[in-house]
Assembly symmetry: D2
Homo-oligomer: 454 residues x 4
């Protein structure tokens, strides 16, 4: 029941082990801020909605597989409109920033923030409702996006100079860390500026949240490449179809695309180490499958087998964002397989390698992602209007919530290879686990966060 | 902590208001059944999976928007494989039944039950893994489907005669009621037969569960029809594009398709009554929109405005399944609108009516539905093997659970028109609420179950 | 070798039976018009193109299946840019008109005429290159379209008043007749106005030309409906899937969609009469197919069986364009089939009727239609600039040509049911010919124009 | 009027310059072969078809842009069924061979040859009508395909051993040469074996014929990659989207995809040399476009700029089929562009490279290609049954014809860069011609064969 505050943490406890990891609020550092009635209540669309405003105390538990006497555990604040807001409509000056790679749904998020029907804000940004009317049907982002470092001080200077009081930052892991730094600086200066993060990662590797937007679209589109690889492999003598999918550190796209397709014989992801040569190795498995079925389809996440590639290369580079520049595992693996079977005279293989990455990133989002992006954007706006700041908006167990920045940046969501989902994949592909006993032990003691499906 | 049993109910209580609405188990009426180790543990795919078997006591709460001191409320038993099973692999004789209309994903469910890699069951049904290998890429159902009544006694006779001990019944509301009756009869006879329901309704109107399979696919495909209606309406002078979508009693497809598309100016659903003539009526709104924008796009769920249609017709019929045969509201409404504007000399309209129902039902499921169907089928099998019976498998707050039949059949999921989701739709289309004060009051006191998004 | 002129005809003869059916030219009635060098020759894109300008005497034969001693027969003037033009770039004032129903590719044609890079014309119409830049990716028409009569005198008055000197008229049969009347009036007044028709008919029923634009797109999209009908039919007991496709007077879309799909068991078109009852009738065939295969897929062109429908209805109406308003044969036939099998107690059928018309019309054109529309528009512009008028642009044996209006309006292209293409269809579906001997005789003596494939 | 025979040529002349380049016939080397009535005449589908059988003397001219006094020129024999055939249905033993890369439509051709409803042949090959029923909906080839040399003697031995009397060979340039060798050997041995080539090349580079099957499908699918490249380029700062398309020696896919898309700023094909550095070079153009528009989309055919790549590499390899192994111009060009702009500090570019080759090759054919493949297969069968041999079946000016092998193998169809189609492309992209005066002169004197559109 007590309240404790560690740096950046805002913990509220309750009975039966209830813990609320709350997000910052403008009134934490600016006392006596005036509030205003939520303008939504005057909107005809909402006139009959009794359940419209969120109860101030609504929260959502993080862990919902429970037993009769489980402690209630961590909760997050529920997203949604509040009865009173901390900005008057005519005073809202919002800006939207998108960073990093393309992701299906970006334009839908932008559309909704920018074109939120003028309910809350009027004439604040060039993204008028009319201007953004159709952008959700296009892939990409109308705002443009860039990689590279940023200077927190300069950014906050610019926010002050331009009189912006709501900042929406759409981006991945690194971007959310940047957003956190901006929030800290804003708070240090005591500005009435809400800083809101909207997590974007086509890889679905952001911690805590159920699923990142664009993920279902990416898995859907990945099916096209897998189908093509399957057709190419089946049509050729000893055909090998290889598809590289996104996933630098997490193999979710590869895993779900494999499970959805059922044409894949082997799925390689960063979380599950593998080896090429020898007993139980990948090359042996490929040879076995080809002899049995005449062909094999392999899906490889871009971050899979990096230690093998690195060993081959003995060198390291970095790209502009500070991410380790990954060697192209697809090209590397294709070459290794070709070399291997060239040496073995008895098997002339036909390998076809497909890298659909940019074709996947650039498509418009499917309908379910469209609706998801719409709700995500609305949740972000509702939070900022209600005075919350320094938070990421995210889906937790199917409910939109406000999550402190540190929770989504402190770790990365990964496929847990000792969990049932990966077991399902293994049983669907019949591929070996490639695991020597040492790796298994490590995996068993790792504390990864499983994706929340079953 | 006490245990109470009312007919067909199996309630387990715990501290802080914890309630488990449990499902029946074979041992409820057949004591001393032998158990066997789960054969999955010998499967290589599962050899490294430490989190594979579900804890016997795992449950999932139904209500997860909670406050610090909320009672814990109703829980359902978590789905998944158990350490011990009540059927030996070689003794499993399963059958699968599909009833009612087509729904994207049906073949994926069938594939997974029928082709579950022989882990649990061998040689039981003609749906061998090989036979069902590719069916998930096709729309429809390889089993065929039919409407019409059934005779519980005869069905259970047949189950006994054919030595079937696991029955999987895929179908909607009425089918789940039938499954419940079959379960009762099976229990009355004391048979060791697991009866499992898998809810199927493209309308997404099954109570308790988050979302029914095929729903996302249906909303996705509905976009094509809406796009076409939009193009037709925009290209003609005073163009009206009308699309009828599925939804006899619930307007979820219409609502989500409208939210995803953003091209719709008016969405009519069964839950929200409307009227044609006079002030605030539909015809007035159509005229206003056409004068402002030159065109209008209308989405109408098949069950919308039935009382208006019925009044026009003054007659009633029923189809073979006992469902009220709905008059085609799309054709009826098209005629009404044409008649109205023909009488008004000042506005020559061009109405284009699209009914994409069968094109939507018949497509293969999208990737996310494919994965969903796969997990749903696995959950069903795990439950039956573990001796549970008389249950429906369903997603609750993103987790697969076992739900007693009576909970999914006692009510129907509906769009709550006093909830935020419908308010979002109204603000997106700008359509009037068509509600006179009386209707609003009724709606406000109705206790519908909102779909669990945000 | 002589030259003869009958009203509206302009015939040029040559050796070996060569006949050129030429199109009018502005100089036919305005002597001494000045000419100018074609501005294309100064364009950098064309600087290396030696084969760019069309030889004045180039023509294309209509009949190209020939024998050693065949007369050379009718030719049309080849389309393309000429060395000298009759309009100066800065004096071109063009207008574009679209009439009738939507057709995939309309926006591509408009784009190309309107945005022809300013080569020939500058600042003449609001359709600047920039404005039309992306419209070819959308279905429909950005210009809007309307049905209904027109007053030639008023139109030519308006052309004069607004100083327009190039008129591009996109539309079907009736529209081309209207264009012809406009041309006659323009010539009567002695105006230097080029009147150019661009044939548009999704039904592909315009005489002389190989194929109308949008036809391939329509056949492509029709596959979706046929697939859905096939899935619905296969999944139900005694399933009947029926798809109505466009084709008021000609069954080309139905025939090609049937040939491309191979899932169709019966294709009904306006050109091939059929009957329902009795020996060799449609109902008997349906029953036979269902008994053999369990299901049947029927494609019916909208104009098929009109005499049967009319007999049922005993009434007649006309729509605004003067086309006979067709009764909906799909709905009518569905009802007849249901009635028939309801009476027959031994066969409970499941009929699913799909009308994808507006979904087909409204989609963007496929790539091959896009290129076709581009060339069609260019040919039209080249012809007008070169002083030709009173013509339709059209593809004849794969070559773009200028065809006199009267040739494309005097008859309608129809499926010749005594030709090999229809025989291929019959052998692909195995449907009966439904022909009594009388009909066969009539068909054999009819002089229809077969579509030019093989 | 006379008849002349040079090796492998069979020329028949007529009045007014008429020349028929005829194909071989079994009776050329096996006199007194018996004939039989065509079994098609007993088929009910054909019973009312009066125009069914092709007149023995029907031919099709190669050149149809003619002038009043043009000589009639080269003709080919029209394809189609003849009144009498040289094989009895029950004696037909056919085999089908597919060689080389995948091409959309392959399965449709196989389906039609293999499943030609048993009209001509019964029980001859395992490709029964039932077995091939659905294969046209799949990409790839059910027969498998392989590259590499072949031994004519062994092949003809095998044909003899297995009693095959009709050989259908589907493949490109090299394969048709192989087919020609097989025909020569078959004739040398005096066998009653018809050898028929069906040209397959996704690149559309086979001489004489209008268009190869699968080409329209390839251009259609290429749009997806171009769209993605456009979105990626537009969304990034100084974005460069590069798409590599098929086309080893001919740039038809690249050219048509560019014309259909209209999003491409630069199209590079093998026929049009280009250079990187300096005034008027590619790098200068890229910089100019990016400065003007912020982004650029480049399409490059796989065979473009090979001399530049080779110069970079100073090495040469060959793949198994004897084709020069092309360096990947897409990867090479991407690197060159990155290197260039890395050196220039003032422009940080974002290049996204897409290679959709295998995704294009593997898709099922679109409807128009499906119909085309159907007719192509029928023409092949009709020809073999009628005793013709040593020919390729092909579309000439929209008509199916029989063409002597030497005519389709003696040269390759190429984009003529001094022709109007390429000029249209240049004017659509606004790219420079990259041509120095020397190249222009060479191009002007080259005698390429333009594709027959307009």
């Amino acid at each position: 029941m007590g309240e404790m505050r560690v740096p950046d943490q805002k913990i509220i406890e309750g009975p039966a082990g209830y813990v609320l990891e709350d997000v910052p609020h403008l009134t934490d550092y600016i006392p006596d801020l005036p509030t205003f009635p939520n303008p939504l209540q005057d909107n005809p669309a909402y006139s009959v909605v009794k359940q419209y405003f969120v109860n101030q105390d609504d929260t959502v538990p993080q862990k919902i597989v429970v037993q009769k006497t489980s402690p209630r555990g961590t909760h997050f604040r529920r997203a949604g409109p509040r009865q009173r807001v901390y900005f008057e409509s005519e005073d809202v000056h919002a800006c939207i920033v998108t960073c990093g790679g393309l992701c299906p749904g970006l334009n839908t998020v932008i559309r909704e923030i920018g074109g939120y029907k003028g309910f809350y804000a009027r004439n604040t940004i060039p993204l008028t409702p009319k201007a953004v009317n159709d952008i959700h049907k296009r892939g990409g982002t109308v705002l443009g996006t860039s990689r590279g470092g940023h200077d927190t001080i300069k950014i906050v200077d610019s926010i002050e100079d331009r009189g912006i009081n709501q900042v929406y930052i759409i981006g991945g892991d690194g971007t959310q860390k940047g957003a956190s730094a901006i929030f800290q600086e804003v708070r240090r200066r005591g500005l009435q500026v809400a800083v809101v993060g909207i997590p974007k990662t086509i890889d679905n590797d952001i911690a805590v949240i159920d699923k990142s937007f664009g993920f279902d679209t990416a898995v859907e589109e990945a099916q096209r490449a897998i189908n093509a690889a399957h057709v190419e492999a089946e049509s050729a003598e000893n055909g090998i179809g290889m598809v590289k999918l996104m996933g630098r550190y997490s193999g979710f796209i590869a895993m779900y695309a494999t499970l959805a397709s059922r044409d894949v014989d082997c799925c390689l992801i960063p979380e599950s180490p593998f080896y090429l040569e020898g007993n139980g190795g990948l090359l042996e498995y490929i040879e076995k499958r080809i002899k049995e079925n005449g062909h094999i389809v392999i899906v490889v996440a871009e971050g899979a087998g990096q230690e093998l590639v690195a060993e081959s290369m003995k060198q390291a580079e970095h790209d502009a964002s500070g991410n380790k520049l990954l060697y192209d595992v697809g090209l590397w693996l294709s070459q290794k397989i070709k070399d291997h079977f060239t040496r073995k005279q008895n098997l002339v293989i036909n390998l076809k390698y497909i890298d659909p990455t940019y074709m996947i990133r650039a498509i418009p989002s499917i309908a379910s992602d469209n609706v998801y992006c719409t709700l995500l954007a609305h949740s972000a706006i509702h939070g900022a209007m209600a005075g919350y700041t320094g938070f990421t908006v995210g889906l937790v167990n199917g409910r939109h919530t406000y999550i402190p920045f540190y929770r989504v940046t402190e770790s990365r969501n990964k496929v847990v290879i000792t969990d049932r989902m990966w077991a399902r994949l293994l049983s669907s592909t019949n591929q070996p686990s490639f695991l020597c006993s040492k790796v298994v032990e490590e995996a068993k003691t790792a504390n990864g966060t499983p994706l929340k499906v079953n």
